[in-house]
């Protein structure tokens, strides 16, 4: 019988005694490298798919609201925005809810901004790091994570039942400002901490007091990032439903004074969606809400980008 491997054996003899080991090792190394590359590619693929799913989820939601909401607005173009809803089906426009939303958000910003910015100034510039600062930080973090329904019930129990403020723009703005407080505080504190130290030294070197330094040097420098935080907090307030529901009510009304009640866009959308009576208006309202949030986010980004270019 012919020896099938005679030739190989001859070659092995020529190559030396550990050639076999070498070949095996080489083969194993290649196999491992292949496995590693395969695992690497598979893992990277999984990561990209996850990112893809996230972006897709956003795209689906935006497209869905856009496709259904655009006709609802377009078919009654200016009137959907600028007329009142009427009848049991809330047919017609959503003008009072837009005004109420803007009113309450502006009022909440007016209340929250000075307190939050000054609180952040305290934390970043004045406070000695210690127990009090730890407590304040913990409180701010907790405030940021309070479920919105709890905040709503608190607003009801505190501002309306204990302080006898009627369900109004004012009570809702007060409750919302508590919600925005930690967001603005964190953004401002980070902005202030990002101000380079030598700029402060320059100001002190010229004899400025602490407050003069903060007001004329630190805050202007930190302003773009503070504004970004404000814009994001604004978006949060506009979309908030539960808090507004319990502190402002749901009466469709055109607010004039801060003690007037009203219904925000988010609450309006909730009522329409739950009752399922006028989905067309619901889509339209959802679209306007989304567009506003989208614009605010874009604005925040634009401010950040511009700021990065300048410095």
């Amino acid at each position: 019988m012919r020896d099938l491997f005679a030739e190989d054996r001859e070659r092995l003899k020529e190559l030396g005694p550990d050639a076999m080991d070498k070949a095996v090792r080489n083969q194993r190394r290649q196999a491992r490298r292949f496995r590693e590359r395969f695992a690497n590619n598979a893992a990277l693929m999984v990561l990209s798919i996850a990112a893809g799913i996230t972006v897709m989820a956003l795209a689906i939601i935006i497209l869905y609201v856009l496709i259904n909401g655009a006709p609802a607005i377009a078919s009654h173009f200016p009137s959907f925005i600028f007329t009142w809803p009427h009848g049991v089906n809330a047919a017609g426009g959503i003008w009072p809810t837009i005004v109420s939303t803007i009113y309450v958000t502006a009022l909440a910003m007016l209340i929250a901004t000075p307190i939050a910015v000054l609180a952040a100034v305290y934390l970043a510039e004045y406070a000695k790091q210690g127990r009090i600062v730890t407590i304040i930080r913990f409180a701010a973090d907790s405030l940021a994570s309070v479920p919105s329904i709890v905040m709503g019930l608190f607003g009801l129990a505190f501002f309306i039942e204990a302080f006898h403020i009627p369900m109004s723009m004012l009570s809702a703005a007060l409750a919302l400002s508590l919600l925005m407080l930690p967001i603005i505080m964190r953004a401002t504190e980070e902005a202030i901490r990002a101000v380079p130290r030598y700029i402060r030294w320059g100001s002190y070197g010229m004899g400025a007091t602490k407050w003069q330094t903060v007001r004329r040097v630190v805050l202007p420098w930190a302003m773009p990032r503070i504004i970004t935080g404000l814009v994001l907090a604004m978006g949060r307030a506009i979309g908030e439903t539960a808090v507004v529901f319990y502190t402002m009510g749901m009466a469709i009304n055109m607010p004039v004074t801060p003690l007037d009640s009203g219904r925000s866009m988010a609450v309006h959308l909730y009522m329409l969606a739950v009752d399922g009576i006028n989905l067309k208006s619901a889509y339209g309202t959802a679209l306007i809400l989304m567009v506003v949030i989208l614009l605010l986010n874009t604005l925040a980004h634009a401010i950040q980008r511009r700021y990065r270019k300048v410095r």
């Binding site: 996230t54 479920p147 505190f158």
Partner: protein
């Protein structure tokens, strides 16, 4: 705090009357300036205390309202009671706690991996162009109001789930799908912060030893960012437990024990809203406030957990 000797600058802008410039000489800071500085720093302190005050007031006004109930039916019957029946004055919240746990656990099981993988992609793999698309998308997901998510759940996800599994489609499964998308931005953005704070050097060291990208991620980057990612997941959990409007709209709102993925249930948050719409002052309303207090304690507990976890982390990579 205030340096005792500073150059006194005029308070007015340089456009002021020239006479005032004469005053810009080296003097002790005037008493009035010192008082002003003190007063201001006190004012700032008071502003910072508002946050603490807010938390204390929220807890006081929500929890105090619940106290009469505990006197009436006993704390144990509230927290461990399994029957919720307003007509029989039975206010056991176990069904809602179970509902919240089921909804949150499912949302986390889907949402957390998705979010962490997205964060890894953004921080470790994506080029600038991919990042410029994906990161704003994630931020935008965070900005979409929860009522819009709920609306999407009602009009799209619930009918879809209903068609596939029977029933109306309102239940934990629908809530999982919607909530998991809602918590992705929270977890993803915070995880990415944690990943970005890891110094580039340890990645380079890993690559230099011949590790592949995945080996570097799995054996070097992930362990280094572990605590940050756990923190992010806990905060995402807080978001899921506290989520109100979206859950209310899609979970079915039946005050009964969890019986199946497509059977309607209620969570702590949804039951509060539902109950408040027809609760009259009395035991019923106090029970709802008791549930709100419970939610508040849970969310504070989660924040506290994060604080304690991150305390050990601080200083590890601060070079």
């Amino acid at each position: 705090m205030t340096p005792s000797v500073t150059l006194r600058t005029p308070d007015k802008a340089p456009t002021a009357v020239p006479q005032q410039h004469k005053k810009a000489e080296l003097t002790l800071v005037s008493r009035s300036t010192q008082i002003k500085e003190r007063a201001l720093s006190l004012l700032f302190f008071l502003c910072a205390i508002v946050a603490v005050l807010g938390v204390v007031l929220i807890f006081a006004f929500v929890a105090v309202r619940a106290v009469p109930l505990f006197k009436q039916i006993g704390f144990l019957n509230f927290i461990a009671g399994t029957k919720w029946s307003v007509a029989n004055s039975q206010f056991g919240v176990v069904p809602f706690i179970v509902g919240s746990v089921v909804v949150t656990a499912g949302a986390l099981a889907i949402g957390a991996p998705l979010a962490i993988l997205t964060a890894l992609f953004l921080s470790e793999i994506a080029g600038p162009r991919a990042r410029a698309v994906i990161r704003p998308a994630v931020e935008l997901l965070a900005g979409i109001p929860s009522v819009v998510y709920g609306f999407f759940g009602v009009t799209v996800v619930a009918p879809l789930v209903g068609r596939m599994f029977g029933g109306a489609g309102f239940g934990p499964l629908t809530a999982w799908i919607v909530l998991s998308i809602m918590i992705v931005p929270t977890i993803s953005m915070l995880s990415e912060d944690a990943l970005d704070s890891i110094p580039m050097g340890i990645r380079e060291a890993s690559f230099a030893m011949g590790a592949t990208q995945w080996q570097t991620i799995y054996k070097v980057v992930l362990p280094a960012a572990k605590i940050g990612i756990i923190d992010a997941t806990i905060l995402g959990m807080g978001r899921a437990i506290g989520e109100t409007m979206a859950v209310l709209m899609i979970v079915g709102n039946a005050p009964q024990m969890f019986a199946g993925l497509t059977k309607p249930i209620a969570t702590l948050t949804s039951q509060i809203v539902l109950g408040m719409s027809y609760a009259t002052p009395g035991a019923f309303q106090t029970a709802l406030f008791g549930m709100a207090a419970l939610l508040f304690i849970i969310s504070m507990g989660l924040v506290l957990t994060v604080r304690i976890l991150s305390r050990g982390k601080r200083g590890t990579y601060d070079a």
